[in-house]
Structures are given as structure tokens and as C-alpha cells.
Amino acid sequence: MKPARFDYVAAASAEEALEALAQEGGNARILAGGQSLLPMLNMRLARPTVLIDIMGVDEWRAVDRDGDVLRIGAAVRQVALEQDPDLARFQPLLAAALPWVGHPQTRSRGTVCGSIAHADPSAELPLVLVALGGTVHLRSRRRKRVLSAQNFFTGMMSTAREDDELIEAIALPKARTRTGYAFREVARRHGDFAIVACAAVVNGVRAQLAVGGVADRPALCELPAPGAAGLDEALDDFAWSLEARDDLHATARYRRELVRRLGRTTLEEAVRCRA
């Protein structure tokens, strides 16, 4: 269980990283912590010809709180956010979800943007990004562009990123007033990929629920607020619309049931947090 051969580039600047990426395109992989990539390399599921390590790029190491937006650079490790004492106030949903990402020993190396780029449909961070209506900032030598989270994720481990692009940063909105946030997850064990993960955002006018682990990417749905009529029916429709499947760890039906039940619990918790 050893990786196949690859070249290794330690980019010292954004330009170097983008230059290498422009040259290698689809044969290159960005190494940003590597906690999703290394298992695939070790198992030889992925065989890039070159790894571009971006952890030495200073400008991507920043977490900016720019007014109402939290901008997280490509080289920001998950642990850096987790240890930020203000995070829970600034963006409670992210703070609630982070401890569910792998284990402390992987969050210490793994990056936020790396998890987004990997686009695992059961992963927590893509779910949070979708739930909050965040954005993905892509950059290549040619151009920069910004995609909404919804447009970025296109399927199972598939994204709108072009071969010569990398995620330079993601941006999340700051917590809004009188808005409640909640995160819940069911997995076989603590730290495993979610069977169903729910992220809820509720304010005075609307309730939103994002669900991971069921469809091929995080799914977002606007629902009647808890207490309002029609929530059960709407959750039921949402559950069916995700087209859950059976696998080793859970049945489609169990997943739908969790969307209904855990979804409701998560929304209710968000309402409580609002107060």
C-alpha cells in the first residue's frame, strides 16, 4: 500500500502553484493537507504525475473576517478554525460542524478548502458551505471566478473546477442576527462519514435545511419553519427527492427516515438557538 511515483512541487507563491497547475492540468493534484488525497494515493486509486503542495503559500494561509464575510484561504488547516475562540460567535454552524470532520489528528493537517475540493457527498464542510450559501473562489493563471456553493458541487466527488484551476479560498457569511443555526449528524461511529448530516438555518421568515450523505452532493431545501403547517409533508417530499440508496451501512429508507426525523430535530434546535 504505497503510492505510485509522482513529482513534488512545493509552491512558494500563488503564481508558482498556478503555473505548475497550468502546465500539468488534469495530471496534477493540489496537496493541501492531504488528508483525503493521501489515502487515495496510498491505495493507488489516484495516480497524479505531480503533486503541487500549496501549504507554503503565505497569501493562502489567511482567515479574513471581512465585514460580514469569513474568507478562508486554501492553506488554512481545519484546526486553525477550530481553535479560533471567536468562531462560534462569528459562524456557529461552521463551529458546530468542525468537530465532526474526521478526528483531531486529521483536522490538524487537513484544510478546509481541501475538503471542499474533494467534494465527498458525505463530508461536513461542503454541507456547511451549501447550507450557508457560501462561495468558492477559483483561480487559474488565466482568470479568477467565484461560484456559489450550489453551482460548485456537480456530483459525487465532482465539481465545476477546471483542470487548471484551484480553490483559492471559500467565503462564508457571518452569522446573522435573529438567525438560528444547528448541525446534527448520524454516522456509524464518531468520525465516520455521515449516513445523514443535517445543517439548519432558521430566521424569522425562512427555514432552510441542507442534507449531506444522501444525494450525490449536499442538498438544500427551503421548508416551513417548525411550528408552521406543512413541515412534515415538506420534509417527506425533501426526503424522497434526494433519491437515497442502499449501501453497506444504511438503507435508502433509513436515510429518508433520518432526513425526516433528524431534519426536524435539527430545525427545532436552530429555532431554539435563535432565541
Binding site: 500500500m1 504505497k2 486509486l45 474533494h118 464518531h190 468520525g191 427516515e257
Partner: protein, 989 residues
């Protein structure tokens, strides 16, 4: 303080700190991969079957052999040239090779061995070996394997049944005829394994001058396997030197299964003329090390109105996987004397069948055979209570072997050495707070919560009779083969020229603290401190005392090995007493060993230092009272006389000692998530005399965690095509600190009269009692008759959540594409409307270039015939990209209306095969509806290590094919919308 030599000293029975720990805590352990290897040692990697069942059409290692850094590539024929088939334990015309020869029979079966400069290069070479397989239908269920039309694994066998034996004890027919009730249960017990964190390792050398092999392996015994390995390597036993490293990173039975790899790596050393080292990786371990058997059991009881059981009928179908590897079918016979558990049941009939299926071959695993027996038996106890309207505790009470009946001979021949089961049980109920748990259950149920309590009463056998496995043979076959019985334990104690003491035992611990306990045992006898006694537990078959029973299994250390060490120490002490007696001028019986001194009993000042007496035989043999008193080295072999061979009535005392366990489990099941939360777990043990209570607790806690994993999380799962579904630790789920609660451990000691120190085994019991105890609690919580392991929340959800309503309003969301990913089979159907006449599309389908343009990622197309094309394709999802060789064939042509499209793709990452029926229907002129139904099977590497990923990937790729077919055919029609629609049809929108 008057401590005499005949009184037990204080060391034994105390939880001393372990001598093993100091080195392990600072990273100075000496596990196999930490030891240096000779210069020039090569590193092996093994190419493994991606198929559950396939013929090997050809293997071409040319490119691999040419890779710089590669010394050799061995395939099946190279192995066969210098070895013989591994011995098979039943009389059946089957062979068992450590590598595939003409066909592969399970995912992960070795196909080729590469020896190279380092492991990285060796794995590079694996990628270059080209193997062509012809897949065969697989069989994975033991009952299905018995069907007359089942695929046959070993053609010599004419079926998959390797052994079929019927046993009868007492008069079961009569008991059933007379019984007021019959209660039956059927169980499919799944596969799991104890997965040590250190994997297998082997370093082998071959000496061509002597035709001898020298092997270092983290093998755990039993050393009866030494004979199997030597035979396979075609050398006498004295030409196979087998050594074990000082430390081993856990085994739990599993490292017995390294032995086929010892043969393989030894042969690689012979082929290359260099030492060869192989360290198994985790993927290899999960696919192709070993695991416990899965078993189908039907168990029926004849029951009196008061719940008293008068007879049992067992029908067991044991699934040993693809090969019957030594010592299998031992899993099925280890419990043969204990088929009545902790109960006094005199009439028993048993049918034992052993079948072969396309799964990993089975072997030793903690609990060995116990979980498979106790699950049905203890589930049945609960069912009897339920069906007769009795308290489950009363049913257990009425059937327990009564106090005062010990030693008790069971119907099938085991001798239960000691115990007071009723007292242990009542004490557990009291100390475990069952009354409170019942009140808690009542309260929870009033609140609408799901709370349940389960029990299990279990006899834990230890120290296996080496003859029990011959119960699989008929009495006549046994007479022919000669008797097999006993269980030799060995210990050697040596005194060196400065009088310090070294103990050696062939016990090969993997973390059980043998060195600490043996130091305690010997220090007590010789009046020393444990720290003064050095203990060596690794084995070198060329130099050490050992026998077939040597090794670390069947919980034999505490009852048997310590006993041998105790006897050796006593003998040595007797001689030392003679030596000292002469110098102290007292009779030998009056010599006392205490505090590092050898003293006269009545005048403690009349004394010599222990070291002086102990060194005397080296320095001054002439001064010894007699030659017989030479005290330099003492080796003791001890085998208990109670372990006799099976008799003609097939009665067998399968184990020497029998501990007793009574477990109580209370669970609550979450109404939302259907997760099982253990509220309390109580485990009462009678393991005889406790030699080191701290280690006893460690064994119970460790066994409990294994059992909890088996009950809630773990399963070696296979798809119907034989693909392995749990190839990584992301799918084979081992409990963590978050999942394992702390059990309340209780003890009720009744020392064994049959072991020198009164101890019994304790390490395996919870693997037998806990899975069924948790299952009983869950069944009680849900009020259901059937529960199966592992207790997946998704499975329990059926009961917890109740029936699901159909989706609201119209039809289900995906009317056209009904897809079910049942294991590795994908099905799908759908249709697409295209702006083109049917004839255009038809022409496209028949034109290789046009068709291949439709296949995602295709290049290098070749036309084999008018209806058959091959191509190289590159497919990928996310970072997982691979090259495949694809074939596509058209058949059932009905122009321009219908055809069948059969395709396959093979590559390093896996393979896929699918058939699609395509129909064309012109719904309007120039407008055609393409209808399709497909069925695809995918497997191989990606299937076992990324099943989650694979289904999605396959759907994407099949989707791309039809999307691009429509796009190509429809020209500028509505590609975007159609694409989106197709994607939705295929279920990944």
C-alpha cells in the same frame, strides 16, 4: 513473618506492573518490522485476485520482471514446483495452495508474489503483471453452496460439501416425542475478525546447501502448524527453523493465519537466493488474512411446561470460505463437548456440515467457535421464556448444571471441571442491580421509550484438547489415523553461572503479559523478586522446547503454561534444596527459599545466598551430593490426563477447563436514529484462580470490546458476485473509545482442580457471551423474535420507525429509472427522446467509430468483427482515474428496432460487466425514443475499498454513455436538457 517454602508467596494474585511495559512505552518494542534484516533482503508484495471466482486464463509477468529493482516474480506454477499442497483436515479430495494455481476462489487470493528492492518498487511491479481472468459465478451463502446447481469451487469435490457428520447423545428422539413444547430458532451468524493492529509479517531465508528454511514470523501457534508448513515446503521438521519476534502487536487467534504466507515467502527466498521480507498491509489483511466462520444454525429444543429443556437438536452449516485451511474445520468442533452450554441437558443430536464458498478462508479468532454456538443457544433460551410465558431468568435457572454436580460430564463428553453456576448468577443479579434495571425498563416503557434487558449464561472452555478436531472423522477413520489427544505445555528454567534465573516458555504472547505472570510464578517458588527472574517468551523451534500445542490460543496460558513453569520451578527447587541441604547440614525438606536466600527452616541465620546455590552446578559440580542434583536447566512438559481422544461414541472432552460467565445487558434504542445505547453491562466471571487481577480485567475488557464490535459494527461483508465490501477500515468498522462502554466486571472464583495453579482461561469468554447478550437486550427492547448481527441501526429502524408511507402525491420521483444498488449489482432503465430517425441511430450503434465516440474516455479503438469492438478507455471520478481495456459486443440485432449491447471493462482499479437492451421507437417522423435497460456488475479493487464511490462512479459513466449517445444521434437537438434529464434518470441529479 514465617513464610515457608511450601506456602504460596505473595507475588501471584497481585496486579504487579508489567515488565513488558517499560520498553513498549518508550517506543523500544521489538515487533517483527522493527528488527533488522540481513543486507540484501528483498521486499515482497503480493498480487491478489480482484474476483470472487474466476479461472486464470493467463498470467504475464514479463513487464514486471523487467522493472529495475525487481528480482523475481513467482506465480502459481513456480510455487507448485517446489512445494506440496497444505494439509487439509478432512478426508476429501481437495487441495489447498497458498497461491492461486488455475483459478481464484476469493477476492484477495494471492496470484503472484514480487520480490524487489523495496516495497514501493514491488508494488510498482504488481501494476505491470497482466492477468486474464474468466469470471465464474460465485457462491457466498453457506446454504446456497449446498444447492445442487451451486457453482462448485473445487471440482474434485463434486459440490461444496467438505464434511457431513451426524452425532447422537442420549435419546433425543424420545425426549422430543415426550416434550410438551418444541421451540426452534434459525440463525445466520456473520463473519468478523479481531483484526490486530499489527498486521502479518514474515522474513524468510533459504539455505540451499542444507535445503533448509529459516523463517521469522509473527505467528502465534499452535505449533502443530509447523508440521503443516514443513510438509508444504517438502523438508523435514528439522529443516524448518521457525522463530517469532519478541513482541507481537496483537493476534487474538488471527496470526495463526500467517502460515500460508510463510510458505509463500519461504519459496520466494528460495527462488531469489536472498532473504525476503513481507509485511502485510491493511488492505491485504482485510481481504485475505483470516476471519471467524459464518454459520447457519437451526437449533430446536424439547421443552417441558416449566421451561426445563430435555433435548437439543443442532443443525450447523459451517462456512470455511474458499479453502479448508488447517486447523479448520476446528471452529466447528472446538465447542463439541459444550453444545449444551451451561445447562444440564442429557439428550442431544447434532448434524455438522462444512461447506466452501467464495470468501476468505477462515481460521482462529478469539472465541473460536463459541459465538456461533452461544448465539443460537442463548437466543433460544429467551425464545423459550417468551413462548412459554416464563421469566427468562427462571428458564436459565431451571436448566443450569446444578451446584454440587461438578465435575460434570456433558452429554457430548466435556468434563466441566468446577463451578457454582447458580451462585455466580444470583450474585451477578444482585450486584449488577437487575431489580433496578427492570424498574428502569418499566419506567422507560411507560414513557414510550425502547428499553430492553438481555442475559446470557455461558461456559468458557480453555486449553484445547489437540484431539478434538479428530471428532470430524468417523471412529473408523480415527482408528486408521491413530489417536490424537492431549495438550503439551512446556517451560524451561535455566540457572546461569552467576545464579540468575531465566524462564523460557513457548507461549508467544501478543500482549497478554506472560513475562510478568511467569516471573511472579517462578519468583514465588524460588523465593526471589519477580524482577530477578528474566522471562523469554519468543520461540525458536531449532533451539527451544516446544510441541504441537505450543503457542498462544485457546486461553491456555494461565491454566496450562503457568502450570508447566510452576512444575519446572518446583523440580529445580527440589534439586537446589538437595545442594543446599548438604552445605547447611539440614535435611532437604527443611530447606526454605525466601528473600533471595536459601535457609534452614529452624535456623534462618543458617543460610546461603540463592545465587551461590544456583551457581553451584556450574562452578563446582564435584561438590554436588549426587549427579542427579545438577541444577542448571529444567524443562517440563505437562499435559493433562483428562484430555483424552474422542471415544467410539464420539464423546470428546474438547477442553480442559471450563469457566462460567453470566452477563446482563440493558439497552435503550433511540427512537430517532435507531442506535443502540448500552445503559449497563454486567459480566460475571468464574475463571478459577486469578493470577493477576489487573490482566484478568484487561482480558475481559478487551474481549468485551471485540464482542461489542461484532454485535454492533463489524462484518466481513461480500456481494453476491463474491466481491468484498469491507476492504478498508472505513467500511470494516472497529469500535473506538466512543463506542465502548465500561462493563461492570464481577468474579466468583472456583479454582480448577485440574490445573496446577487452579486458573482457567478468561480471554475469550466475552466474545461468546456478549454478542448474544446484547442481541437479547435489543430483542427485548423491540419485542421481536428475530435479530441478526451486526445490529445495524438501519436494520433495527424497520421496527423502530414502523412502515414508511409512499411518497405524497403523484408517483415516486423517478418513474422511469428504477435503480437499485443491491450490493454490487446495478440495475437501471430509462428512455430518451432524440431528434433523429431510428435508422440514423441504428447506423451509429453499428459503426465502431461512432459507437466508440459515445463511450466515455475511449481511445485506441479496434474492430474485432462487425459486432465486436475493443478499446482503451480512461475513466475517472474525482481524483480516481484509471485506464481500462473495454470490449463491446452487439447481439440480438433486430434492425432498426432493438439490439443487446454487452460491454466489459477491466483495469487495475476494477472491472465492470454489463448488458443493456436498447430499443428504438420512432414516435414521430425524425424523432426517436431510445429505450434502455441495463444491468451491470462491478467489482475489483475499487469495489472493496471504495464501494461508496463506486456505485456513484458507475452511474456517472453509464449515464455519460447514454447521454452522449443521445447527443451524438440528436445532433443539435436538445443536448443540454436531455443531458440533465438523463442525469436525473440515472439518479445523480
Amino acid at each position: 513473618m514465617d513464610v515457608t517454602a511450601d506456602e504460596p508467596r505473595p507475588w501471584l494474585g497481585r496486579s504487579l506492573p508489567r515488565v513488558e511495559d517499560a520498553a513498549l512505552l518508550i517506543g523500544r518494542g521489538r515487533y517483527i518490522d522493527d528488527l533488522g534484516v540481513p543486507p540484501g533482503t528483498l521486499h515482497a508484495a503480493i498480487l491478489r485476485s480482484p474476483h470472487g471466482h474466476a479461472e486464470i486464463v493467463s498470467i504475464d509477468p514479463t513487464r514486471a520482471r523487467a522493472l529495475p529493482g525487481v528480482t523475481a516474480v513467482l506465480v502459481g506454477s513456480d510455487v507448485q514446483a517446489h512445494s506440496a499442497s497444505l494439509l487439509v483436515g478432512v478426508k476429501a479430495p481437495i487441495e489447498c495452495w497458498p497461491i492461486a494455481t488455475d483459478r481464484v476462489r476469493y477476492v484477495g487470493e494471492p496470484v503472484a508474489v514480487v520480490a524487489a528492492r523495496d516495497r514501493y518498487v514491488a508494488e510498482d511491479a504488481l501494476d505491470l503483471i497482466e492477468v486474464a481472468y474468466r469470471p465464474l459465478p460465485a457462491v457466498i451463502d453457506p446454504r446456497a453452496a449446498l444447492a445442487p446447481d451451486a457453482p462448485v469451487l473445487h471440482p474434485g469435490l463434486e459440490g461444496n460439501l467438505a464434511s457431513d457428520r451426524v452425532f447422537r447423545y442420549g435419546d433425543p428422539e424420545r425426549a422430543f416425542a415426550d416434550a410438551a413444547h418444541r421451540v426452534a430458532i434459525e440463525v445466520d451468524y456473520p463473519r468478523s475478525a479481531c483484526t490486530p493492529i499489527e498486521t502479518y509479517g514474515v522474513v524468510a531465508e533459504y539455505d540451499p546447501g542444507l535445503d533448509a528454511y529459516d523463517v521469522l514470523a509473527n505467528f502465534q501457534g499452535p505449533f502443530s502448524i509447523h508440521a503443516v508448513i514443513a510438509r508444504a515446503l517438502k523438508v523435514p521438521g528439522n529443516r524448518l527453523r521457525l522463530r517469532t519476534p519478541p513482541d507481537s502487536g496483537g493476534s487474538f487467534g488471527v496470526k495463526q493465519g500467517v502460515f500460508p504466507y510463510i510458505v509463500l515467502i519461504a519459496l520466494a527466498a528460495r527462488a531469489t537466493g536472498r532473504p525476503v521480507k513481507w509485511i502485510e498491509d491493511r488492505l491485504e489483511h482485510l481481504a485475505a488474512s483470516t476471519c471467524a466462520t459464518n454459520r447457519f444454525t437451526r437449533l430446536e429444543a424439547a421443552v417441558a411446561a416449566d421451561g426445563r429443556i430435555t433435548a437439543l437438536t443442532w443443525d450447523q452449516i459451517e462456512d470455511c470460505g474458499a479453502h479448508l485451511r488447517a486447523p479448520e474445520p476446528a471452529t466447528l468442533y472446538r465447542m463439541h463437548g459444550n453444545m449444551t452450554g451451561a445447562y444440564d441437558i442429557r439428550n442431544v443430536s447434532i448434524r455438522n456440515r462444512v461447506v466452501l464458498t467464495n470468501k476468505m478462508p477462515t481460521g482462529l479468532n478469539r472465541g473460536f467457535g463459541g459465538p456461533q454456538v452461544y448465539f443460537p443457544l442463548e437466543r433460544l433460551m429467551q425464545r423459550i421464556a417468551h413462548e412459554l410465558g416464563l421469566d427468562p431468568l427462571d428458564v436459565i435457572r431451571r436448566n443450569l448444571v446444578p451446584r454440587g454436580a461438578f465435575p460434570y460430564r456433558t452429554a457430548s463428553g466435556a468434563l466441566l471441571d468446577s463451578g457454582d453456576y447458580a451462585a455466580a448468577m444470583e450474585s451477578a443479579l444482585l450486584q449488577g442491580g437487575v431489580a433496578e434495571l427492570i424498574a428502569r425498563r418499566d419506567a422507560a416503557r411507560r414513557d414510550g421509550r425502547l428499553y430492553g434487558i438481555g442475559y446470557a449464561a455461558v461456559v468458557e472452555p480453555s486449553v484445547s484438547n489437540m484431539g478434538y478436531i479428530t471428532t470430524v472423522l468417523t471412529a473408523a477413520e480415527r482408528r486408521k489415523a491413530g489417536p490424537k489427544n492431549g495438550a503439551q505445555s512446556t517451560a524451561t528454567i535455566a540457572l546461569d553461572p552467576v545464579g540468575s534465573v531465566t524462564v523460557h516458555v513457548a507461549s508467544v504472547p501478543q500482549g497478554q503479559g506472560h513475562r510478568t505472570v511467569l516471573a511472579q510464578v517462578v519468583a514465588d517458588v524460588l523465593g526471589l523478586k519477580p524482577a530477578e527472574v528474566r522471562v523469554v517468551t519468543d520461540v525458536d523451534t531449532a533451539k527451544d522446547g516446544w510441541s504441537i500445542a505450543s503457542g498462544n490460543y485457546s486461553s491456555r496460558f494461565a491454566p496450562a503454561v503457568t502450570g508447566a513453569a510452576h512444575l519446572a520451578a518446583m523440580r529445580l527447587r527440589e534439586r537446589l534444596a538437595h545442594i543446599a541441604a548438604a552445605q547447611l547440614n539440614v535435611p532437604a525438606v527443611d530447606v526454605v527459599f525466601d528473600g533471595g536466600r536459601v535457609q534452614a527452616r529452624r535456623n534462618r541465620d543458617n543460610a546461603l545466598s540463592f545465587a551461590r546455590v544456583a551457581a553451584a552446578s556450574h562452578w563446582a559440580p564435584g561438590t554436588l551430593p549426587s549427579e542427579a542434583d545438577t541444577a542448571i536447566r529444567e524443562t517440563v512438559f505437562w499435559t493433562p490426563p483428562e484430555l483424552t481422544a474422542p471415544n467410539d461414541a464420539d464423546e470428546i472432552n474438547s477442553s480442559l477447563c471450563h469457566g462460567f460467565i453470566f452477563d446482563i445487558c440493558a439497552v435503550e434504542i433511540d427512537r430517532v436514529t435507531a442506535e443502540v445505547r448500552i445503559d449497563r453491562y454486567v459480566s460475571m466471571h468464574d475463571c478459577g484462580r486469578m493470577l493477576h487481577p489487573g490482566m484478568v480485567a484487561g482480558q475481559v475488557n478487551g474481549g468485551f470490546a471485540h464482542a461489542l464490535g461484532a454485535a454492533l459494527l463489524e462484518e466481513h461483508a461480500y456481494g453476491p458476485d463474491g466481491s468484498l465490501l469491507t476492504g478498508t477500515l472505513a467500511d470494516y468498522l472497529i469500535p473506538t473509545a466512543m463506542e465502548v462502554p465500561e462493563p461492570l466486571i464481577l468474579h466468583h472464583e472456583t479454582p480448577s482442580p485440574l490445573t496446577p495453579l487452579g486458573a482457567k482461561g478468561v480471554g475469550e469468554g466475552n466474545c461468546m457471551s456478549t454478542p448474544v447478550c446484547i442481541a437479547n437486550a435489543v430483542a427485548d427492547a423491540l419485542g421481536v423474535a428475530d435479530v441478526s448481527l451486526p445490529l445495524l441501526p438501519a436494520r433495527l429502524a424497520q421496527q423502530v420507525h414502523g412502515p414508511e408511507k409512499a411518497p405524497r402525491g403523484k408517483t415516486p420521483v423517478r418513474p422511469a429509472a428504477k435503480e437499485a444498488a443491491s450490493e454490487r449489482q446495478l440495475f437501471g432503465e430509462g428512455e430518451a427522446s432524440v431528434d433523429a430517425p431510428a435508422t440514423t441511430i441504428w447506423a451509429m450503434l453499428l459503426d465502431p467509430n461512432a459507437l466508440m465516440a459515445v463511450v466515455p474516455g475511449a481511445h485506441a479503438i479496434e474492430k474485432v468483427s462487425d459486432t465486436c469492438f475493443t478499446a482503451e478507455i480512461t475513466l475517472g471520478i474525482g481524483p480516481v482515474k484509471g485506464r481500462y481495456r473495454a470490449t463491446m459486443e452487439l447481439s440480438d440485432l433486430d434492425p432498426p428496432r432493438a439490439l443487446t449491447l454487452t460491454g466489459s471493462a477491466d483495469g487495475a482499479l476494477g472491472f465492470g460487466r454489463g448488458t443493456g437492451q436498447v430499443t428504438l421507437r420512432e414516435e414521430a417522423p425524425g424523432r426517436t425514443v431510445i429505450g434502455y435497460r441495463y444491468q451491470a456488475a462491478i467489482g475489483g479493487k475499487v469495489a472493496s475499498i471504495g464501494g461508496r464511490l463506486l456505485d456513484g462512479a458507475a452511474r456517472v459513466i453509464i449515464g455519460q454513455f447514454f447521454a452522449s449517445l443521445a447527443r451524438q444521434a440528436g445532433g443539435g437537438g436538445r443536448p443540454a436538457g436531455l443531458w440533465a434529464w438523463l442525469r436525473r434518470l440515472l439518479g445523480f441529479a
